[in-house]
């Protein structure tokens, strides 16, 4: 039981980090960024490159990787997404193409085999009889910290207020003198950065291979919809629900059923409450 509690928390934290970035960029810029999974993968690979090939210590490589990927996100938004902003479908397709291109580029550069990223913490920790690797606990701790920091920024700072304003009404915000385009870039950077951080944290204990972004992308998409597009608290709660139900099923039944549970949860939510738990945008 304790196992499910702890491992579920780790899963939920990772999912939350992924989902929050995705919902943020949607809430603010109305962009369904299908390249979000690529940020996750790029974060992990960047950490791998810096530690293995450049020999940098992990504590330096991690923040650097986050910055690099955040920059990538900003550049992508500026060059490829902004010109197509009028059509949601066009943005969807171009971000999709970016994710495919990134996967191929990673594949060509690093090969299809799984890569090894060293752990931050090598020890095993036992909590109440449950063995858990230090790295997983770190992922949980960092995840919670990042989410808290994000919440604080949005609620307490001027930047946060600007972000909220733009997400409610971009035009009005512009009239008020808020530089909407710059806000888009900043939010994109945050979104890409959190996804990259999630990738870096899990890479020591999950797979690092070129297609690693696809499944997290689909899960983030599902979580965000279940929580309500554009709602950060919604995403966090949905991440908790999904993370825990997956872990519970994995331990009580078998790992084969975990995916099924999340999918059924998604479908059920869509049928019962289509706009998600805290969704404000109409689903129909």
């Amino acid at each position: 039981m304790l196992q499910i509690l702890i491992y579920g928390a780790v899963s939920s934290a990772i999912y939350a980090m992924l989902a929050v970035g995705f919902t943020l960029i949607f809430g603010v810029a109305r962009i369904l960024n299908l390249a979000h999974g690529s940020f996750y993968a790029l974060g992990a690979y960047s950490a791998f490159t810096m530690t293995s090939l450049l020999g940098l210590p992990l504590l330096v490589a991690a923040p650097l990787s986050v910055l690099v990927v955040a920059l990538f996100g900003v550049v992508m938004e500026r060059l490829l997404v902004r010109p197509l902003r009028q059509s949601q479908l066009a943005v969807l397709m171009i971000t999709l193409a970016v994710s495919l291109a990134v996967e191929q580029a990673l594949f060509l550069t690093f090969g299809s085999e799984y890569r090894n990223v060293p752990s931050f913490i090598a020890e095993k920790i036992a909590i109440g009889g449950v063995d858990i690797s230090g790295q997983r606990l770190l992922a949980l701790a960092v995840g919670v910290a990042v989410l808290l920091a994000l919440w604080l920024v949005i609620q307490r700072t001027r930047l946060g207020a600007a972000i909220l304003a733009v997400s409610q009404d971009p035009e009005a915000a512009q009239y008020m003198g808020i530089p909407t385009n710059r806000i888009f870039s900043i939010v994109m950077a945050i979104s890409a950065g959190t996804a990259a951080l999630a990738g870096i944290l899990v890479s020591p204990f999950l797979t690092v291979q070129p297609g690693m972004g696809l499944l997290p992308m689909v899960k983030a998409f599902a979580i965000v919809i279940v929580g309500g597009l554009g709602s950060i608290p919604g995403s966090i709660i949905a991440a908790l629900i999904l993370g825990y139900s997956e872990t519970a099923v994995a331990y009580l039944a078998s790992t084969a059923w975990t995916e099924l549970v999340s999918l059924v949860a998604v479908v059920a939510t869509l049928m019962i409450r289509p706009s998600g738990i805290f969704g404000r945008r109409a689903a129909f």
């Binding site: 999709l96 191929q104 998409f221």
Partner: protein
Amino acid sequence: MQRVPWIDVLGGLIVLGVLALVPMFATSNYLTGVLTVCAIYGIWASSWDFMSGLTGRENFGHALFIGSGAYTAGFMATAWYLNPWYSLPAAVAVAVVFSLIVGFPTLRLRGPYFALAMLSASAIMQRLCLIYWEYTGGEEGLYGLDPIIRSPLHYYWFVLAILAVTVLILTLLAHAHWGLLLRAIRGDEATCQAAGINVTFYKIASLMISAAFTGLGGALYAHYQLQVSPPLFSVVVSITVIIMAYVGGVGSIYGAAIAAILLTLLTEMLRGFGEYRLWVYTLTLMLILFFLPGGLVAPAWRRLTARLR
């Protein structure tokens, strides 16, 4: 009913003729095989376009119908040893049933919500195929199907004929009252409902039609590959089809079919690039999607034949 421009019909016949005759000049069955797959993707893409292109509800779970049609053919061949011809109508029936199962609950959804619901449905089927591996063959799926027509060339012509019929029927429907209503539903559903149109019927029916042709394509594919496996249900397949329809020009139907053929041919022709094949393909895709957000095939064709309309 809106008339189908004669130039479109002429163009279609020419393309059909070229496609039918090309393999006869090839030195081996290789090209025939590739074109068969191209045609099947054409069936899938055009039927996606009919429903999602006209109503504006992007169906991210199209693979559900592909997989159910293919697996129907698979089961009929390997578990019940039935004549392969029977699998065609069976696949259509099964796909339509699935469309009803997912269609009704997701009726009121649109936009990303509909997309996600459909995506989840096809992902659930993929999962179930893996979980119940004792019955479905698991990851490796079912193999040992028999071809419907032994000669690769004749089978190709058969599939091509089905593609032609598919595009024809869907185009006629799109130009008829039906298509008009679907486009109206995309524009403003509430108004349509207020005007007394049975919106529910049209949405479900268009999904069923889309599913029917797609399932048929799935069975044709199964009898070509002689094998079916879970990746047929995957989101990657759905995305491939959507990209084809998009490159073709959403809503044009014939554009989707042509784009499907072109893109599938492209992946084969790029084999010379070796490991870089998919990279070049994705880059090409990105360029097309960025510079031509309205698609490539349909807009280009319309520009080309603007004088003759």
